[in-house]
Symmetry: C2
Subunit: 229 residues, 2 copies
């Protein structure tokens, strides 16, 4: 009975684990961190948790659901990283500058997470969106563009990272730093800018560039986006 797991939240105090779903997810997250989405293998996670493979099927309908669970965790960590970046810099006195600082910080945090956790980042954006979190389900609303002139959203709470940028943009408009007519789609465009930077500098030959150059590119990319808006 000398199992490797000793304490913490996953006690395994007998036949029943008590928190298997969580334990499995954590194990899967660990693999994903190291090897990306491909490294998420159900049997492995079960093995690492000290439980039979089929036990996992009591908590996940199939392999994909495990992946989705990992995506969720990753998304939360993404948001956390962005929030950290937000809180990191010192606020500007001018409200307009401050809003802009926040937008830039949000974008920077996004890229920073991608670099810090490439495995998780790749896992988050992997395969279609069938059964995923992100931006939420009510796309119907998105379709018709709402009265405020931008994509509504912040569905549940999953897409906090998205709303961070979105809110900063709202402030910019409120403070007159961004013409209201340009508000529409600005969030998506900003998001796509930082996402593109992340992916290219991570999964392309560009990944071999020295870090300083990458940092320059990221700065430039974000500046271009902010300028262009």
């Amino acid at each position: 009975m000398a199992s490797e797991q000793a304490a913490g939240t996953s006690g395994r105090r007998g036949y029943h684990h008590g928190d298997l779903r969580n334990a499995l997810t954590e194990a899967a997250v660990e693999r994903a961190r190291a090897g990306g989405p491909q490294a998420i293998v159900l049997r492995e996670a079960a093995r690492a948790t000290g439980v039979s493979s089929t036990a996992a099927y009591r908590h996940f309908a199939n392999h994909h659901e495990l992946v989705v669970a990992v995506k969720d965790r990753g998304l939360a960590m993404l948001a956390a990283t962005m929030r950290d970046e937000l809180a990191g810099g010192e606020p500007c006195s001018d409200p307009g500058d401050e809003a802009l600082r926040r937008l830039r910080a949000a974008g920077l945090g996004y890229v920073r997470f991608a670099f810090a956790e490439p495995g998780l980042f790749r896992t988050i954006f992997h395969g279609g969106t069938e059964g995923d979190p992100m931006i939420g389900r009510r796309q119907a609303a998105l379709a018709a563009g709402d009265g405020e002139g931008h994509l509504p959203g912040t569905p549940d709470e999953s897409e906090e990272s998205y709303s961070l940028m979105s809110r900063a943009l709202d402030e910019l408009v409120a403070l007159g730093r961004l013409p209201a007519e340009r508000r529409k789609y600005s969030d998506v465009v900003m998001w796509s800018a930082v996402h593109g930077l992340s992916v290219l500098l991570l999964d392309t030959e560009l990944a071999h560039l020295p870090d300083e150059i990458k940092a320059d590119i990221v700065r430039r990319g974000i500046d271009v986006a902010l300028n262009g808006l």
Copy 2:
């Protein structure tokens, strides 16, 4: 010696196939088109080609090499789509406007390909870059930034799509439409802009948006990038 090309699909006149590598790649491309990188399964490709699974190992060291072959094909198709888009619109009389039109067309072609061939697009950017084509191998040169002030490249001929945008930018500089000091990294930024748009509108809940909205977002995204440069 006379007949050996006849069939593009597969000759199979006897024990030896004659063009297995190509046939396998084609089969794999077909699966990838329909189901993305995950759909590239070596045994399946062999089966579809009417050959034993292990025969593939005479032409590909392992599964990954097959995927790389598909990536190559996809890259070529990407470039083709972009070139089509370039040739599609009518040229502007003013050279500066023309260069700008080309840059925009290149970007639009990029996104258009992503929408037209999502499976291949996802395959191209899948997993690390170990043993891939793209941007080429000489990153050392990239590191030090060259005299012209932008990332050199056009390695072999694989990254034609990249060079299409890069050349348009060069023209813009030559014609005084873009300050030379902003030329640096502009290609990467432009590329990342269109890439981000493609990925987000393809692999996110945003994918459920109606096509018109997507088109609007793409337009806006590209405009922002061009403006920001």
